[in-house]
């Protein structure tokens, strides 16, 4: 029995997962099952990204939320139509502001390297340059921002995007995340693991603050709605002749059929992405590069002694993983059709992804994917299951009783507790996760 399990473990576990989704399709509805599947796929990509950093290289990145939000931002900046009045009103101020920022950064970097001998005054000089740059920036930037935000604030009030197809946003989201990861990696990767964790957590919060408050770029808490779609709209499908016939042939109402069709289109797109990513990651893990990464992870000193550039490799793998997370963030915004900065909270976008990786099996790509599926499924379904459980358990109680009402109300929060419990139990009894890393000799 045990031998059978270990030989066919992946097939059994993924089969089980598919079975659960089919069960949801039967009990709740196929539409719900497909919604869960789509978000499972995106979660799986995010946990693949974290797995690249943690599983391959042992980098503890708790800034997942920030990278996902950057991907989402790419969705807005690439796909929304540009607001030309806003560009005319404040475009110049904004561009000048960006130039000043870039100039300040360059001046800082140049000053930093050219005054190395003045160790005592170095920080003060840098601080002076920053203060000067910041004052200049505020002088030109603020009027531009005010002008842009004044233009039809209830509909636009921001610069808009490039008006390109939203699929372009996916690689752009990955690029955004990679660019920011490069900067973060350059400054934070030298830190000890738990400091790196706290630093990345802080930086991800700063990114979210930026996105929430810079309304000229992102509309902030006013959200951006109605992002273009890569798949057909339900309403168009319902009016199309061929689709009506198709729905009739399947015996489904046209409304339901169109919703399901759209979700299947998304699912196919996502599956294509995850397929490519999995193939790339597996190939990378098997290659000499993967072997070197494992060597660095397991013993940095030894790897450095063999002439491997540990810092550079860490930076590279940090950028790669963050890019994958950014890609997933762009995909999520595409699926939602809207960008809601307030929706990003560390519990859902950082720590939950971490739970996926740990439970799935760190260091194993298939494990990360399975963890993404399993935990997301559970995160969504824990509420109905918990509700059902408490209803059944308290069925004997007086329907008017306050205790029962309180328990039913609290059922929604059961999932936090259960996810915590699952994580703690995994760390204790199966620290390698559901699909452990392959032992290589």
């Amino acid at each position: 029995m045990h031998a059978f399990y270990s030989q066919y473990r992946n097939q059994i576990l993924f089969g089980l997962m598919a079975g659960l989704l089919i069960l949801v399709a039967v009990i709740q509805s196929p539409s719900v099952a497909l919604t869960i599947l789509n978000l499972c796929l995106i979660s799986a990509i995010m946990s693949l990204g974290v797995n690249i950093q943690w599983g391959y290289a042992g980098l503890f990145n708790v800034g997942v939320m920030g990278f996902a939000a950057l991907g989402g931002l790419a969705g807005v900046l690439v796909s929304m139509p540009p607001v030309s009045e806003a560009w005319q009103a404040g475009g110049f101020g904004i561009l000048l502001g960006l130039l000043i920022t870039a100039g300040t950064v360059v001046a800082c970097l140049m000053a930093w390297s050219s005054i190395k001998h003045l160790t005592r005054y170095r920080y003060w000089i840098i601080a002076g340059i920053i203060v000067l740059g910041y004052t200049l920036l505020r002088l030109f930037f603020d009027p531009g921002v005010d002008a842009i935000e004044a233009i039809d604030p209830s509909v636009t009030g921001y610069l808009g995007g490039l008006g390109l197809p939203i699929l372009v946003a996916w690689p752009v989201g990955a690029l955004f995340a990679a660019g920011v990861a490069f900067v973060i990696g350059k400054i934070a990767l030298g830190l000890r693991s738990d400091y790196l964790a706290i630093a990345t957590l802080g930086i991800s919060e700063i990114i979210i603050f930026f996105i929430k408050n810079e309304e000229w770029l992102t509309r902030g808490v006013k959200n951006v709605n109605g992002l273009p779609r890569p798949v057909p709209y339900e309403i168009d499908l319902q009016q199309a002749q061929w689709f009506q016939e198709w729905a009739l042939a399947l015996g489904l109402p046209v409304d339901d059929a169109s919703a399901i069709f759209v979700k299947i289109c998304y699912a196919l797109l996502f599956i294509a992405v995850i397929g490519v990513l999995l193939w790339l990651s597996e190939t990378a893990l098997k290659s000499p590069w993967g072997r070197m990464m494992r060597a660095i992870r397991d013993n940095e000193t030894a790897a450095a002694a063999m002439g491997k550039d540990v810092t550079w490799q860490h930076l590279r793998v940090f950028i790669l993983g963050s890019a994958v997370i950014g890609l997933a963030g762009a995909m999520l915004t595409t699926l939602d059709g809207q960008f809601t900065p307030v929706g990003y909270n560390p519990l859902r976008f950082t720590f939950l992804i971490w739970v996926m990786v740990i439970i799935g099996g760190s260091g194993n790509n298939w494990g990360a994917v399975l963890g993404g599926f399993f935990i997301w499924f559970f995160w969504i379904e824990a509420e109905p299951i918990g509700l059902w459980l408490i209803e059944t358990l308290t069925a004997g109680m007086d329907p008017q009783s306050a205790v029962r009402a309180h328990l039913l109300e609290g059922a929604a929060h059961m999932r936090l507790m259960t996810v915590g419990l699952i994580l703690l139990l995994t760390l204790r009894y199966a620290p390698e996760g559901l699909i452990p890393e392959k032992k290589r000799l």
């Binding site: 503890f60 920080y123 400054i187 934070a188 830190l191 000890r192 693991s193 738990d194 400091y195 964790a197 706290i198 630093a199 957590l201 802080g202 930086i203 919060e205 700063i206 603050f209 930026f210 929430k212 408050n213 909270n345 560390p346 519990l347 720590f351 971490w354 739970v355 740990i358 109300e409 609290g410 929060h413 059961m414 999932r415 936090l416 507790m417 259960t418 996810v419 915590g420 419990l421 994580l423 703690l424 760390l427 204790r428 620290p431």
Partner: protein, 337 residues
């Protein structure tokens, strides 16, 4: 001359008193994080939730006391309920240590594993809190609201600007001073406190001298739970109690601990005030001050802020990141518990 006093009053009312209050809350929180780091050697991500849990128990007891119409006017009833909150939180943390952390400690697990374990604890406690008291806002303050009202101050001094002192602010600052003094006395002058310092300084040497490690760990958790409950309750009294806010408080608290130098109690306290005051100073609107102190003819249209108020919390993260990059050992490095 009157202008100078007016300006000082504005500063005191909107910057110094709020800064001292918030700084005290952060300092107490950071002290807990630092103790866990010094003795148990990991960054405890569940500390925010521990604070929320302690505050929650205190709130429940406060409600009970209010229902029984027991009060200590003019002080808030919650102060009477804190001891119960501490006891329950101590029991919970000791149970969690027994069933969760001890296993990993015995196996001498990597600090990162401890960190991930504490994330699991964070999830668990977060769910528990929301299950018991719900995710909403709870206000449990009672007693006299103001010690000194702005209007009274104006009448007293004849200045144009008012200075007000709320009861919660005074309670927070005084409690923090008492707790911190007691904490240092304990660490420096009692046998148990000294054994904790020894254990934190050099584990093997401490074991060799016959210090019981289980006892040190237990005492640490008791202190951490007590500090967390007090900090959580004071914050809840001052602002309001909302479970999610305590998770957000985790980062300023980590920032305070790290800015002061993790593992160093004195640093944690200093760090708390550094973070609190930098948040306020960078987002303070200096318009009034400049109008009072500047030349008569000066006219200002803007608020003269360095950063928008929206960025208040982001300031602590920025300081945190800068300190981590420039001096990761903190301002008071080199000395642990």
């Amino acid at each position: 001359m009157v202008d100078v006093f007016n300006a000082l009053t504005v500063l005191g009312n909107f910057l110094i008193i709020p800064g001292l209050t918030y700084g005290s809350q952060l300092a107490l929180g950071a002290l807990g994080v630092t103790l866990v780091y010094g003795v148990l050697r990991f960054s405890n991500f569940a500390h925010g939730e521990t604070m929320a849990f302690g505050a929650m128990i205190t709130i429940l007891v406060t409600w009970g006391l209010q229902a029984a119409s027991i009060s200590i006017q003019p002080l808030p009833t919650a102060l009477l309920a804190i001891p119960v909150g501490i006891v329950v939180t101590v029991v919970l943390t000791l149970l969690i240590d027994r069933f969760v952390y001890r296993y990993h400690r015995d196996r001498k697990a990597n600090p990162v594993i401890f960190l991930i374990v504490s994330i699991g604890v964070m999830f668990f406690m977060g769910g528990l809190i929301r299950f018991i008291i719900g995710p909403g806002d709870q206000i449990f303050f009672d007693g006299t609201r103001f010690i000194l009202k702005a209007r009274e101050f104006k009448q007293m001094t004849g200045l144009d600007e008012g200075l007000s002192l709320r009861m919660t602010q005074a309670v927070t600052i005084i409690t923090a001073i008492i707790i911190v003094a007691a904490m240092f006395w304990f660490l420096n002058h009692t046998r148990t406190g000294k054994s904790m310092r020894a254990y934190s300084d050099n584990e093997n040497l401490a074991l060799l001298s016959g210090i019981n490690p289980d006892r040190v760990v237990m005492i640490t958790w008791i202190l951490v739970a007590a500090l967390a409950t007090i900090a959580g309750t004071l914050y809840g009294l001052d602002k309001s109690f909302k479970p999610f806010v305590y998770m957000q408080l985790l980062l300023p608290i980590f920032a305070s601990a790290i800015v002061g130098g993790v593992g160093n109690p004195l640093g944690a306290i200093a760090g708390g005030y550094v973070i609190a005051f930098s948040e306020l100073i960078l987002t303070f609107a200096y318009k009034k001050i400049i109008l009072y102190l500047g030349p008569e003819t000066l006219e200002l249209d803007s608020l003269v802020q360095i950063l928008g108020t929206d960025y208040k919390i982001a300031v602590s993260f920025i300081i945190l990141v800068i300190v981590l990059i420039i001096k990761p050992t903190g301002l008071f490095s080199g000395k642990t518990i």
